[in-house]
Structures are given as C-alpha cells and as structure tokens.
Amino acid sequence: DVKVTQSSRYLVKRTGEKVFLECVQDMDHENMFWYRQDPGLGLRLIYFSYDVKMKEKGDIPEGYSVSREKKERFSLILESASTNQTSMYLCASSYDTNQPQHFGDGTRLSIL
C-alpha cells in the first residue's frame, strides 16, 4: 500500500512566521502535489513536482514555495504566514502522470 505521510496533523503558527509543511512518500513515486482544502472551495492545487529539484505552479501558488531535494520528500513553505492561509493542507503522490494520486492525512494549519 502507498503511504504518504505528512509531518503534522495540527499546527498553529503566528502571522509573519515562516512555516514548513513536510510530506514523505514511500513508493518511489515520480510526482508529488500540494493542495489546500477549504469549505465551499474544494481542493485547489498549490504546487506540484514531476522530478527532483523540479517544481511547477498550480492554481494558487501566491504566498507559497516548495522544495524537492529528494524524490521521496516534498516540502511546502509559507514564507510569511498570513491568516488567509489558515486551511487544511493535503499532500499527494502518483507513480506517473494520469495515474491515481494517493493522499496523506492532511495538516490542519491555523495562522493566528
């Protein structure tokens, strides 16, 4: 079974802080993704990566950056957290493009 692990289930940070959300997958998947999920808006893609050191912007990249130094790990960075970034963040991975994405359990992030 595919295992996608997000480092924290719940996280509380303050406005202006730099925040790191970590995601690790154990199935040697090429592709990794970061989404945020908000009531009434559904899942929206922030960034994705098809290879190590490669990244592409999704639909809502503003205020975020990512890092993929190793194949199994994909980090989401909030450079200067703001209250409108309070959300559920979900990481996913897939073996290849057009293959099912497998999700982690999510990190519920609150910015105060």
Binding site: G42, L43, L45, F48, Y50, N98, H102, F103, D105
Partner: protein, 111 residues
C-alpha cells in the same frame, strides 16, 4: 478555465437506499476522470475512468463515464452508514495532467 460541477451538493438518505452522484466537467485536453471518497482525513481513491460507457464496479459502488455528455455518475446501492462521506470527482486535464477537483458531494446515511 477548467470547470467541474458536482451535484447535488449534499444529500441525506436512509440505510438501504440507492444514491446517484453526478459530476459534469468542461475542461481542456481531458484524459481521464477519478472519483475519491473522503471521510475525516485523506481522500481515498475509488475509480479511474478513461473510456466512455464502460462501467467500473467495486462492491456496492459503480461508476461510468459519458464523454459525449462530459459527465460521470457514481452509484451506491444498499447504502450503509459507513458510506457517509464527501465524494469528490476530478478530471485529469491539460498538458501536465493535473487533477481539477469538484467541490464535492456530502452524503449522509442515516440508520
């Protein structure tokens, strides 16, 4: 802009009922459509549909794609309380094959 609409937004049924969940899409460069079930945590994969008119089935759940109508349905027969969840559909689109999610359908199954 890619658009995915799911309906109804929510519904409440009783155990044993049959439900049909709808997903329609207007997207560029359609490749396939996926259905997920989300309970309290991670969305879990249900089906991937690539060909029109071919039903995929898993237990009491089944799904079919209609490329002519740009839509898909997810059927659940003999519903159980454990079917209570948010059901998400998402077509794979575009040159980079990214998933575009609908807002989801919240299903509540009452005993």
């Amino acid at each position: 802009e890619d658009k995915v609409v799911q309906s109804p937004l929510s519904l409440v049924v009783h155990e044993g009922d049959t439900v049909t969940l709808n997903c329609s899409y207007e997207v560029t460069n359609f490749r396939s459509l996926l259905w997920y079930k989300q309970e309290k945590k991670a969305p879990t994969f249900l089906f991937m549909l690539t060909s029109s008119g071919i039903e995929k089935k898993s237990g009491r759940l089944s799904s079919i794609l209609d490329k002519k109508e740009l839509s898909s349905i997810l059927n659940i027969t003999a519903t159980q309380t454990g079917d209570s969840a948010i059901y998400l559909c998402a077509p794979y689109t575009g040159a980079n094959s990214k998933l575009t999610f609908g807002k989801g359908i919240t299903l509540s199954v009452r005993p």
